[in-house]
């Protein structure tokens, strides 16, 4: 810097002549270009760029000062045009010792792709930033799968490496229980622990003025006094737990599930105990009362009613935090937990970092409870741990919108905690469409689903929507359509309750009459329905008219016509000989009009992850040897062994209810140690 002038001095010196130079067109380029040294890091580098018909691959070898070899693969380009120019461009690059050269006449797109990839190789060899004008996502440099791409730049398992211990601590605090994360699991843990007589510290990365409890108010639970007050029947615990284990292929930790089943009602009543009876009287229960057409078990999988819908800003967890703080829980907002402190095998505390970058040590006399949320906001953890989603999605797919950065799970893992086996569970991601969106006009109704070739492909009513929609993941790319009858408002009363199911008990189905009338009137144009995104709903007097309006032609149209006929035949028989859908869900498509809408099959839109560290039945984190780690506990989305490898629920909102309940139980448990 010694010989450099300041920005202000430079401008003052330059400005005087600038106006006259502008007039003569001198300016426009930088006054001084930095010269490239021309020194390479010896080695061989490859890059891909998009050509006319294919990916063009360039591989270049460098010594310290020169380009020594160039190989160009244009075999996928147009024969007689781009595919013939590889050798000529190799020669040009070697002669020019660079890639700023003229293209080959008649093959400008392929030439440009070669230049782009060659420049990428040169940049790599120089250790420079790689700048591409080629489209990413199509195999261009830096795009998914391309050299230098974000996915390739960082090993997926890098997050597993523990950081160096932090020693420059600016401040220290001590309590019986230290909780990482003050959300849906951490706050019940804090209140339970403080009510059990323990001193409690909560480390929360959000700032106090902006603190948000994500997850809304749909707290799935069973057997609370609140549900009883609404007339919801009690759920048999044995049946409930057995169903859970069936859903998760027995990969859930049964002891944790049993505790949730036995305590979720008590937890909801406890967390809402500061609301008045008048307030609670205004709360409703989702999909309650159920229709007499509802059957609890479909395809051997059960569903129950047990999801309160709270009014306005009513938030049991927010109220629980206020109570916890009134009773002495010490919340440290704006502090991010960075690593755990260990004394031998025992976890004894947490190092946090405040908003100014200072490190704070929190010592726990009895235990540290990790409640830091999921890892959907951490791309490398997602790639490493969500292997099924990773298989389906492209590397740049955005997932985990509502989720945290996985720091709680990382802390436990670095301290020796054992992760449940991959793939870890998540809400969504593996497959989204059909019917897993509020934008779907008929929600999760198990009507007829057909693929882009007009063929039915699955039991549309298997368990709940999360399970049944998965079948579509393996269908051909393209549209998947939902086909329904003009009796849809009756048909939905046969459905299982679910997050995205139309809540007919509370009037959500009333819009359907308008939609169907709109579709009939719109004819070929279709009727646009706005929900989450937009959907075009079409009507037809028969399968042929409807299929044509959906855009089917040729064999696909005939398939569609045959599929509807076959479906009606099976409905008439009362048995689904093709996919074993529950007979009560076999509703014929025989109205004056039938209807359909579709969307592209879709992956990767995931709310949160719901898998993490393995624990014992008391939520104590297990080590690699499956023995509990002294002093370390996990709850909510830091805890694995709850949902197997696919979030699937018998009651909407079970993740939230589980986080609350597990938090309460582990808070009580650790406080009494």
């Amino acid at each position: 810097m010694a010989n450099k002038i300041s920005r202000r001095d430079f401008l003052r010196g330059s400005a005087a002549g600038a106006v006259s130079m502008l007039a003569t067109g001198v300016l426009g380029a930088p006054l001084v270009h930095a010269e490239s040294s021309g020194t390479y890091t010896p080695g061989t580098y490859s890059a891909i760029s998009k050509g006319m018909e294919s990916d063009v691959k360039v591989t270049m070898t460098f010594d310290a000062e020169t380009i020594t070899d160039v190989q160009i693969d244009v075999s996928g380009e147009t024969a007689g045009i781009g595919a013939e120019i590889g050798d000529e461009m190799v020669q040009k690059i070697l002669e020019a010792q660079g890639a700023e050269l003229d293209g080959v006449s008649g093959a400008s797109v392929t030439s440009a792709a070669i230049r782009d990839a060659a420049n990428n190789c040169i940049a790599q060899a120089k250790g420079e930033a790689v700048v591409s004008t080629a489209p990413a996502g199509e195999g261009g440099p830096g795009g998914p799968g391309g050299p230098g791409g974000a996915a390739a730049a960082e090993p997926d398992d890098e997050w597993r490496t523990a950081p160096e211990p932090i020693t420059d601590v600016a401040e220290e605090f001590t309590a019986d229980v230290v909780i990482v994360g003050g959300g849906q699991a951490g706050t019940p843990a804090a209140r339970a622990a403080v009510e059990a007589g323990a001193s409690v510290i909560v480390i929360e990365s959000q700032t106090e003025d902006a603190m948000s409890f994500r997850g809304g108010g749909q707290i799935g639970h069973i057997n609370s006094a609140f549900l009883e007050s609404k007339g919801v029947p009690k759920v048999d615990i044995q049946e409930f737990v057995t169903d859970w284990q069936l859903r998760t292929n027995n990969r859930s930790r049964c002891g944790l599930i049993m505790k949730y089943a036995n305590n979720s009602g008590r937890c909801f009543d406890w967390m809402s105990d500061s609301f008045t009876d008048e307030e609670k009287a205004t709360w409703t229960v989702r999909q309650w009362p159920v229709s007499e057409n509802y059957t609890q078990k479909k395809s051997g999988i059960s569903t129950w009613v047990g999801t309160p819908t709270l009014n306005g800003d009513a938030s049991p967890v927010k109220r629980t935090m206020e109570i916890a703080r009134e009773k002495g829980a010490d919340y440290h907002f704006g502090v991010t937990a960075k690593q755990l402190v260990k004394d031998g095998d025992r976890v004894t505390g947490v190092i946090g970092q405040d908003a100014d970058g200072n490190y704070i040590k929190f010592t726990a006399n009895k235990g540290v409870i990790l409640c830091g949320g999921g890892f959907g906001g951490n791309p490398s953890m997602c790639r490493d741990l969500l292997i099924e989603i990773t298989d389906y999605c492209s590397a740049d797919t955005s997932i985990g919108g509502m989720d945290d950065d996985g720091s709680g799970i990382k802390l436990g893992y670095w301290a020796g905690g054992r992760l449940e086996s991959r793939p870890l569970s998540s809400m969504g991601g593996n497959y989204v469409y059909p019917c897993n969106s509020p934008g779907d006009p008929i929600g999760t109704t198990a009507a007829l689903w057909v693929n882009c070739h007009g063929r039915r492909y699955c039991n549309e009513g298997f368990g709940d929507i999360v399970l049944s929609a998965m079948a579509g993941a393996k269908e051909p790319q393209g549209m998947i359509y939902t086909v329904f009858n003009d009796t849809i408002r009756e048909d939905i009363t046969y459905q299982a309750p679910g997050h995205m199911a139309l809540d007919y008990a509370n009037g959500e189905d009333e819009k359907l009459d308008e939609i169907m009338a709109g579709a009939i009137e719109a004819g070929d144009a279709g009727y646009e329905v706005t929900g989450m995104g937009t959907t075009m709903v079409y009507a037809g007097k028969d399968a042929e008219e409807l299929g044509t309006r959906l855009g089917f032609t040729g064999d696909d149209l005939q398939n569609f016509i045959n599929t509807v006929a076959r479906y009606n035949e099976l409905c008439e028989k009362g048995i689904d000989e093709d996919f074993a859908k529950d007979p009560v869900l076999m509703r014929p498509l025989n109205g004056e009009h039938i209807f359909a809408y579709g969307a592209e099959k879709s992956f990767g839109s995931m709310l949160v992850t719901t898998g993490g560290l393995l624990t014992d039945d008391n939520s104590q984190v297990l080590g690699e040897d499956f023995e509990p780690i002294p002093g370390l506990f996990a709850a909510g989305n830091n805890c694995g062994g709850r949902f197997g490898f696919q979030y699937s629920t018998s009651i909407p909102g079970e993740s939230l209810g589980f986080a609350n309940t597990q938090g309460m139980l582990v808070g009580e448990y650790v406080a009494k140690l």
Partner: protein
């Protein structure tokens, strides 16, 4: 603010992050698509440029900061955090400074929102473009409306004070009713600011390849009808048009935009940016290699292009 701002001159900062995870088909900007090593090198250079400049602006107070690109959230979070923290230590940033981060359609998750809270980012500018999946596909956006919804829900859910949704008119095949769907989608999430921009004719290679198969661009009359509808709908919803195409609810606006209409200085960092201080307008080289080689050498990277006409 780290010191007493009385008597200090207002200053507006812009930090340019020319990185994206993927290129949208219609994008004609020069963006970097490489991975972390490149991003880290670039952000180190940004910090060096700020360090070399800060002393010249010790008698200023920063009243707005815009961080754009590219997609700033394509950076690793710790790199972004380090950049913003360094900016705050180098410049005197007002407590109530408007600090904006530009986001793509699918730009954030809760983890980013927590970081924004900690860094006192208080405004997001979301490039929504459209509220319709079919147009997302046509534009080659990296995600669909479900992801965009998350981007609009999170700021409200996590109490971020201000956020803007940017919509386009002039998308091939766009109809007045289709635009209405997009507009209503954007408004639904209590979005304080709605910006409506005409789509610029794209020149990117991906767009060129498919331009012959595109539906027709909306006519001038159709575009005018879209804007009429916007005027009616947004007025009904309590927005005011404070600049052409810039609609906001009471108390919200893009301060960085307004600053450029004043005599106040704005200082940009990063390759290919424009600054104006003390009436002098100058550009920073868009040659990334040149920028990375000497970000702290004004003579190497700045070109004076004119004087501000007041």
């Amino acid at each position: 603010m780290s010191s007493n701002s009385a008597g200090l001159r207002p200053l507006h900062l812009y930090l340019h992050i020319p990185y994206c995870k993927a290129r949208c088909d219609f994008c004609s900007q020069r963006v970097c698509l490489d991975g972390e090593p490149g991003m880290r090198s670039y952000c180190d250079a940004l910090v060096r440029e700020m360090e070399a400049s800060a002393a010249d602006f010790a008698d200023y107070v920063v009243t707005s900061v815009a961080i754009g690109g590219g997609c700033p959230t394509s950076l690793p979070q710790e790199v972004f955090e380090k950049l913003v923290r360094r900016m705050r230590t180098l410049f005197c940033v007002a407590e109530d400074a408007q600090i904006t981060v530009e986001l793509p359609h699918n730009g954030i998750n809760a983890s980013w929102m927590v970081l924004f809270q900690r860094l006192k980012v208080n405004r997001l500018s979301v490039f929504l473009a459209t509220g319709r999946d079919a147009e997302c596909v046509l534009l080659g956006l990296p995600s669909r409306i479900a992801s965009a919804e998350t981007t609009l829900i999170l700021p409200q859910m996590m109490h971020l004070p201000d956020y803007e949704a940017i919509l386009l008119t002039g998308i091939p095949g766009q109809t007045v009713s289709g635009f209405g769907v997009s507009l209503r989608f954007a408004v639904r999430y209590h979005t304080p600011e709605i910006t409506i921009l005409p789509m610029q004719p794209p020149t990117g290679s991906a767009w060129q390849k498919k331009k012959d198969s595109l539906p027709p661009y909306p006519s001038g009359e159709e575009t005018a009808a879209m804007l009429d509808y916007a005027r009616q709908h947004l007025s009904e919803k309590g927005y005011e048009e404070y600049r052409p195409g810039r609609w906001a609810r009471d108390g919200f606006c893009n301060q960085d935009l307004l600053a450029r209409e004043t005599e106040e200085d704005y200082l940009s960092f990063g390759a290919g940016t424009t600054s104006c201080t003390e009436g002098i307008i100058y550009r920073t080289t868009d040659d990334l290699a040149a920028y990375l080689a000497a970000p702290d050498d004004p003579a190497a990277i700045y070109t004076v292009t004119g004087r501000r006409m007041v």
